[in-house]
């Protein structure tokens, strides 16, 4: 009898660590996500999470506010404006591809039913360039960050509104793949994205405080002091995967686009406030 109860206790403990996923809707996922942070940081208003780690780190926030007085991403916005306004060799401009632009960031990422894939803003920019005979830009470093900075700046205040259309099960499948990626442990350190940015949000990793996942996608691209320049969200995905000693995936490949689709959905309802400055 004693052994039976011991085994039962062990099973109960194992069950509490992780449970197999039952079917949940994106809205249910979003509610659970938000409620986690409400419980974890009860004094932080939901809207504050657009400021990343500075929503929970008062000392870091003070430094960050000082930096924001002379934002290091400003030259990139100016260069991006020049890119936007400069015609391609064929005479057309980005405006011809994006009539609603440049204030259009809230439209991305979205599910393209015809192409059966998630379309992100950097991908769309390169699709525009290639359609007009221009070379595509690299997705992590370089001038892609200029035009993204300009678009992000012009889009400030727009509300994150990713849609998973109910009439296309492939869209939900892409969302679910992104969600699976987020919660899957990987690399030699055996961490998932959630290990750091949900479970241990607010805790220290060496000298840094782990940022909360809520609001993670609102402020990209980001000038990171570590990079000494502006970089893209997929560059950060690559870095995070390397940091847990996993082989990273390709920027703007299916894995990271689906991940962006899921992660941006988790920030639905939050205002965009890119480009950002971070440590």
């Amino acid at each position: 009898m004693k052994h039976f109860f011991q085994k039962l206790a062990l099973l109960a403990m194992a069950g509490s660590i992780a449970i197999s996923a039952q079917a949940t809707t994106p809205d249910e996922d979003l509610a659970a996500f938000r409620n986690f942070f409400k419980d974890r940081f009860p004094d932080v208003p939901t809207g504050e999470y657009v400021n990343g780690v500075y929503s929970i780190d008062p000392v870091g926030r003070e430094n960050w506010e000082a930096i924001e007085e002379f934002p290091p991403y400003e030259p990139f916005i100016d260069d991006g404006r020049t890119m936007w306004e400069t015609p391609f060799a064929n005479g057309k401009t980005y405006q011809d591809c994006f009539p609603d632009g440049p204030a259009m960031e809230s439209k991305f990422p979205y599910w393209d039913k015809e192409k059966e894939m998630v379309i992100t803003l950097p991908l769309a920019i390169n699709q525009c360039r290639e359609a007009n005979g221009e070379k595509p830009l690299k997705y992590k470093k370089g001038p892609i960050n200029d035009i993204l900075s300009y678009i992000a700046f012009e889009s400030r205040g727009q509300i994150t509104n990713v849609v998973v259309p109910s009439d296309d099960p492939k869209a939900l499948a892409a969302y679910e793949k992104g969600k699976k990626f987020y919660y899957t442990r990987r690399g030699q350190l055996n961490f998932s994205c959630a290990t750091c940015h949900l479970q241990n949000a607010g805790m220290k990793i060496r000298a840094d405080i782990l940022s909360p996942a809520l609001g993670h996608t609102t402020h990209w691209p980001v000038y990171r002091s570590k990079w000494g320049t502006v970089g893209t969200l997929h560059r950060r995905f690559t870095g995070c995967n390397k940091q847990v000693r996993a082989k990273p995936f390709k920027a703007q490949g299916e894995e990271y686009r689906d991940l962006e689709y899921f992660l941006t959905y988790m920030s639905n309802g939050l205002p965009l406030n890119g480009p950002g400055a971070r440590k």
Binding site: S16, I17, A18, I19, S20, A21, T24, E28, A31, A32, F33, N35, F36, E176, K179, K180, Y183, T184, R185, R186, G187, Q188, N190, A194, L198, Q199, N241, K242, R245, A246, K247, P248, F249, E255
Partner: protein, 111 residues
């Protein structure tokens, strides 16, 4: 007597060292090189298997390259150690990815 014992000891030590030197320096024999090569191939196979399930770790490929470089320099023992480490990483990466095939939501998220 003491000097004689000391001299006997010194001669014995020199002879022992001389006999060991060929063994330590002989790691680059044909059979050892072949074994190291096999270990590197096995490590590469393990790396590819991990990659096939998106479970490859960051450093595995680099360690295999280092093993190859060490083998090319004749450092067979080092090459073997590196190959063994890379193989271990490939196996663990594969097991990790397979164990994570089913989405497991953390219990701290409440639905």
């Amino acid at each position: 007597m003491r000097i004689k014992s000391f001299l006997q000891f010194t001669i014995a030590a020199l002879l022992l060292g001389a006999s060991l030197t060929p063994v330590l320096a002989a790691d680059a024999t044909d059979s050892n090189v072949a074994k190291a090569q096999q270990m590197i191939e096995k490590a590469e196979a393990a790396r590819k298997q991990a990659a096939s399930v998106d479970g490859e770790w960051r450093d595995t490929g680099k360690i295999i390259d280092e093993a190859k470089a060490e083998l090319a320099k004749g450092q067979v023992v080092t090459a073997m150690k590196l190959a063994a480490e890379a193989h271990k990483q490939g196996v663990l990466g594969y097991q990790q990815a397979v164990s994570q095939r089913e989405l497991k939501m953390p219990s701290y998220l409440h639905y």
